[in-house]
Symmetry: C2
Subunit: 257 residues, 2 copies
């Protein structure tokens, strides 16, 4: 491809430091178009907006870069980019992020960042979701930029083969501290919820979600293992949720009914 | 198990005909506790509520059945049920639905019904998401109830083995027209978006999501094939999104960087 068309999106909106980092480095490789939600959309998962109209506004945030804000979810953003903003054009790559925090393990299913990337891959656009394990607004994105640049270079040189969607997480370390990249599987884990219960000024209860991540096992080969051991984790991910190995377990259901 | 504890939820709220059907038939098998969103949550996918508090209200909808409405998403409902309403108790089965419309193929990732069921399975509660391919409020749920009853009986007699989450779709046919049940894989397909663009009274554009489902192939063995051929489709599903077969495709990335 001569000058690839790269769609950049995220779930935190246009003012997040991570999207600026992503726009800067993707501009090194091709034509960049940005679309991001006009409000924070963390934890939106694969939500889409059905019962309300969506707004789309051209904004001037990044010099020389076409950018739009959308009133919907991260998935809505990708749908609008493909169907309205870039209608009829071939999008070569979608980059979503760079998010703050971890999208490793089960976090992938709650993450607006990863859901935007997944939506692009459902629409057959090779896609990468990126997250830096640092919640600070002042987070240092230099290592994240370095490795993201490498992943883009790899994609442009080799493609991703059968992989259409990469879940990339970068540990909170400097470039020199990071040992390299591991191609991993998603670690098995979940969140143990512990809602904070409190009373509003009228004395009515409310619940606020919090929780602790519980890792089932810390096997080598998982994304959590890679991150804990100083590597960038790369999990090729997909939207076919069929549990193929479990099909035999319930095959008898066909005769039972 | 002597008297199983069954959690019933959905994405359309307490007044939907499908949840009534589900409460009625699950009451045949055990103790039922219901939690549903207090507003329609179709298309919410795996969204969770992070930046706002959640409300939980006991409601009197189904005679003799403990029921709560929640201000959040379907996934929030399941988290609140496990952590607050049924804290410390073992939930034997979660049933989500019965939804109107199809959760087959790619619809699973957008579906609030299926995301509630998936959240339960992430929390290790065997779970079934159910949908009837009939959008009408007057839809006839008798076939859906019949086959759901059979699936519950199978679960109570045999368990689901390795399967933790079933995506069950029921065609819009009578009990006698339905040929049986097929254990399937998720069909590959996507939505071709075609937003309706219009102008509000101030002359500003808005976009409203619509689209056509495009099936990649109609292979026997997929959920879409089963439904089109008069079967109830049952897809064992999971939350490990790793694309294992694609790991080799990008293994070279480790050396490239």
């Amino acid at each position: 491809m001569s000058k690839p068309l790269i769609l950049v999106t995220n779930d935190d909106g246009m003012i997040a430091p991570g999207i600026k980092a992503l726009v800067e480095l993707s501009s090194e490789f091709g034509e960049v178009v940005v679309i991001a939600p006009d409000s924070p959309q963390s934890g939106q998962g694969h939500a889409i907006t059905i019962t309300e109209p969506l707004r789309l506004n051209r904004v001037d945030v990044f010099e020389g870069i076409t950018a739009y804000e959308c009133s919907g979810t991260p998935v809505d953003c990708v749908k609008l980019a493909k169907s309205i903003i870039l209608k009829g054009r071939n999008i070569d790559l979608c980059l979503s992020g760079i998010n703050h925090g971890s999208n490793a393990s089960i976090n992938i299913i709650y993450s607006g960042t990863m859901s935007a990337a997944m939506e692009a891959s459902v629409e057959r656009i090779p896609s990468i979701g990126l997250s830096l394990l640092d919640y600070s607004f002042e987070a240092d994105f230099s290592a994240a930029k370095h490795f993201t640049r490498k992943v883009i270079q790899f994609f442009l040189a080799h493609g991703f083969g059968d992989a259409k969607l990469l879940n990339v997480n970068i540990p909170k370390l400097s470039i020199h501290e990071i040992k390299g990249v591991k191609v991993c599987r998603q670690a098995e884990g979940n969140w143990t919820e512990d809602f904070v219960e409190s009373k509003d000024p009228r004395g009515e209860s409310y619940y606020w979600l919090t929780g602790d991540f519980v890792l089932e096992s810390n096997d080598e080969g998982t994304d959590i293992w890679a991150l804990k051991n100083g590597y960038v984790s790369v999990v090729p991910s997909m939207h076919d949720l069929t549990h193929y190995k479990a099909m035999d377990s319930i095959k008898e259901l066909e005769d039972f009914i």
